[in-house]
């Protein structure tokens, strides 16, 4: 029976406590057990706050369940919930991650008046003409002439970049930053990228090579998981 098996294991680490919660019992069982366990562990008044990390294993909590759990732990003095970790996520969230981490290939000329919007990164094989607009929640890579408007990191990913084989945009937008072309006639630039420079707090355009240094996590798949 449930009583015979330990549902909650507490481990102390340098960063605080970690609660391992058995993932085969019901949520109410878990709460009762937790209540009991935490009540028996009394702490002295003068000790500092203890941070708690909760490992749920293969259990998934709804938002209100999570709130209940936090509430319970908060009610015990001296305990602060640092994070709740679980091995499982809902399918929808997983698909959203996948969507966000995919590179969408678009093969066309984006003409004046046309808007192309994608989730995730966009690889445009073609041009963006003046008056045309492309938007992506991730990065934008244009293998062609970027003469219109490109908006990367919609709505709030400030790490997003815009790279183009030929760059002469009317506007570059990344997350909530906007930069526009100068008022005098300029030649475009080849193989450059636009990123947000965090020190200057604005979008800068520089050679593609700086990306390796400034945005190393464009590489690979792992970063997507981190973002998720």
């Amino acid at each position: 029976m449930a009583g015979s098996k330990q549902l909650i294991t507490i481990k102390g680490t340098r960063d605080g406590l970690t609660l391992y919660i058995d993932d085969s019992c019901s949520f109410s069982e878990m709460l009762t057990e937790l209540e009991a366990t935490l009540s028996t562990n009394h702490v002295a008044e003068d000790e500092p706050m203890i941070t708690v990390t909760i490992q749920l294993g293969n259990r998934y909590l709804h938002e209100n369940q999570e709130e209940q759990l936090r509430e319970l732990i908060r009610s015990k003095n001296k305990l602060v919930v640092q994070s709740i970790e679980s091995n499982v996520i809902p399918k929808k969230q997983a698909l959203d991650w996948l969507e966000d981490s995919e590179v969408k290939v678009v093969n066309k000329v984006v003409r004046s008046g046309q808007v192309i919007e994608v989730q995730g990164d966009m690889l445009l094989i073609g041009d963006v003409n003046p008056g045309g607009k492309i938007m992506a929640s991730g990065n934008i890579f244009v293998m062609g002439n970027l003469r219109g408007v490109a908006h990367a990191g919609v709505p709030n990913n400030r790490e997003a970049v815009i790279a183009a084989a030929y760059m002469k945009p009317t506007q570059l937008r990344i997350a909530d930053y906007i930069s526009r072309s100068p008022d005098y006639e300029t030649e475009g630039v080849y193989m450059e990228c636009g990123i947000i420079d965090h020190e200057q707090e604005k979008i800068i355009i520089d050679r593609l090579q700086i990306l390796a240094r400034k945005r190393p996590d464009i590489n690979g798949f792992e970063r997507r998981m981190i973002h998720g």
Binding site: R111, S112, G113, N129, P130, G131, G132, N145, R147
Partner: protein, 266 residues
């Protein structure tokens, strides 16, 4: 079975009507049966450019509203027996023309004529939709100005969405070579690169064009001007011939020679 070509531009005043009249004339010169349709309801002027204004009795709206037969509304050109015009209505409203009505008219004309050239009104609203409705092919006219190229780009985007219409071809009209040379005007390569569609022809800015159309006689009818040659070449390309682009240099070359000559003397 004929072919219907819509001539459009988005922006007004770039020379759609002049182009329609001249390509029509040039095709007629090559003994093709051609019918021109003016779809600019309320602001017709293809008839004026062709010099046929005084012969209009019925117009396209009369045909659509069945006040007359299609054949009754067609006006035969005064120079060619194989060239006809279906004029636009001057007093009706744009909404009197419908895409379905246009399709029916064009389909009927295609039985009889080799080429049906549809002169499209400026803009991208109802008038444009009507004009494009029956077309198989499209020609986009632009001038070497940014605003005109921008609108041409917009129109090309819209034309690409029309499933029945083949990818449009481009005519760059009113090129002033000395301005292009000075970098004050976009050059043809630049325009073609931006619009990325096939170039059908280039026409230099020529006073003769305005003179001729004021006389109600398309410039293509007179053989010895540059613009006329340009339009005739465009017609030949429509027929499938491979004709090299006209050089814009010629006059400039003479001018340069003269300058050189003067330079030597001073």
């Amino acid at each position: 079975m004929g072919e219907a070509i819509v001539i459009t531009s988005g922006k007004g005043g770039v020379g759609k009507t002049t182009t329609t009249a001249n390509i029509g004339t040039a095709l007629a010169l090559m003994e093709k049966k051609v019918c021109l349709i003016d779809t600019d309801i309320g602001l017709r002027n293809l008839d004026v450019v062709m010099g046929l204004e005084n012969r209009i009795i019925y117009d396209i709206v009369d045909v659509i509203q069945k006040r007359c037969k299609l054949k009754q509304a067609l006006i035969k050109d005064k120079r060619f027996d194989c060239l006809y015009l279906l004029p636009a209505a001057q007093t009706s409203d744009k909404s009197d023309l419908t895409p379905e009505g246009m399709e029916a008219i064009v389909a009927e004309l295609k039985q009889e004529y080799d080429y049906i050239l549809i002169d499209c009104p400026a803009g991208i609203e109802q008038g444009y939709k009507n004009a494009v409705a029956g077309a198989d092919k499209a020609i986009v006219v632009t001038t070497p100005e940014k605003s005109s190229v921008r609108d041409a780009d917009r129109i090309i985007g819209l034309l690409e969405k029309e499933e029945k219409v083949e990818p449009p071809h481009l005519i760059v009209n009113r090129i002033r070579n000395h301005m292009v040379k000075n970098g004050d005007m976009l050059d043809v390569d630049e325009i073609v690169q931006i619009l990325s569609i096939e170039l059908l022809g280039i026409v230099a800015d020529d006073d003769e064009v305005i003179k001729a159309s004021n006389h109600g006689e398309p410039v293509a009818f007179h053989p010895n001007t540059k613009a006329s040659l340009a339009y005739r070449n465009i017609a030949r390309r429509i027929l499938g011939e491979t004709v090299p682009l006209l050089s814009l240099e010629e006059e400039k070359g003479m001018f340069a020679k003269m300058k050189k000559f003067l330079g030597m003397r001073s």
